[in-house]
Point group: C2
Chain length 217, copies 2
């Protein structure tokens, strides 16, 4: 009880602080960008001391990587739960639409895009960030394969390349919508994709419900 010298409480406090710092780091990255994110600006936003960054994480960049990984886990949980079991195209697109809106609002994509930009300045971050992104490309590829299945489309355009394109598109839209200050363009794009999906849905469904392989090109 209270704030006295209790071992498990002390450990708990340390963990809690770590999390506060990670939260503040992500917030600062969103608000100030990579170039504006320093141990001092993070500490100011989180209301703790600047030295804690180095005590808990060793360096600013290591903290930022921890923040990126944290955001990645949170989002992967949401995505898995929300789109992990959808098996038709229009459900997938509309789920992607609403989650992407949430990504934008909460700045999850921004944390990623700022870190990628930071990797130009600190190249040693590059491979570490790539490791955080790869699961997303795999996840996207899996979702596509599940929904599109084995149609003429996938023989012309392999799911892996579509996944790469979609992740790229998400990143690019994040950059542009932040810049233009209006996320309407991105959102109406999803509407367009939904209409496109409806156009092709019968074709995809019928081909897929046959349940079997098509030829590879």
């Amino acid at each position: 009880m209270a704030k006295s010298g209790n071992k498990s409480r002390a450990r708990t406090d340390g963990e809690a602080t770590r999390e506060r710092i990670i939260e503040a780091a992500a917030d600062t990255l969103c608000a100030e960008g990579f170039a504006g994110t320093s141990a001092r600006s993070i500490a100011a936003k989180g209301g703790f001391n600047q030295a804690l960054v180095f005590y808990h994480f060793g360096s600013v960049n290591d903290l930022l990587m921890a923040a990126l990984a944290h955001v990645g886990h949170v989002r992967m949980a949401t995505y898995t739960e929300t789109v992990g079991n959808l098996d038709n195209l229009s459900d997938l697109v509309s789920a992607a639409r609403s989650i992407f809106a949430e990504d934008l609002d909460r700045g999850y994509m921004k944390v990623l895009s700022e870190m990628i930009s930071g990797a130009s300045t600190y190249p040693e971050l590059g491979p570490r960030i790539w490791q955080e992104i790869e699961p997303w490309i795999s996840f996207t590829k899996g979702s596509i394969s599940r929904v599109i299945g084995d149609t003429a489309l996938t023989s012309a355009v392999p799911a892996g390349e579509v996944a790469f394109a979609i992740v790229s598109l998400y990143l690019g839209m994040e950059l542009l919508t932040q810049l233009a200050g209006q996320r309407s363009s991105a959102d109406s794009l999803f509407g367009a994709v939904e209409r496109l999906g409806s156009l092709f849905a019968p074709f995809i469904q019928s081909t897929q419900s046959d349940g079997k392989g098509e030829q590879e090109t």
Copy 2:
């Protein structure tokens, strides 16, 4: 009056220096990223004095904006010349493919993506950068309209939204390919789009060759 005492020579030297500085700024942005680009790092790369940045451009950010605008003009000239008159889909895609490869190699896209990231740290840059991007979205939209024309596709997906998506995709691919250190993914994606284009080309061509005006949705 310096070494020649010739007025126009003096003016020429000043202009030449301005250009050297702009070149060095773009190079530094590519090599070090926004966070690593300072008056000092730019001057080191260009082999001139750090104070010249402030004499000629007033501030680092103003120099960087000048560099961005410069790169934009250079690339717009190339794009206009190369794809400005193409009127069928496969030519357009393969032209876009080779120019995008050049964009990557020479770091033109990188200058842009780094500046966009920098706008998070210096919000006053946002609108100025957006001004540089808008012409590209218009250009892309124009190219699409010219090539796709008035098909069922454009009624489902307006050219403006496709243009927004394509510019986003370019940006996103720039980020990812830099990070992964392999541009094969991006390049093979173009291959996929080319195959897709072939799939739809007959349909598009036949509809378009009927012929006429555009309608907005």
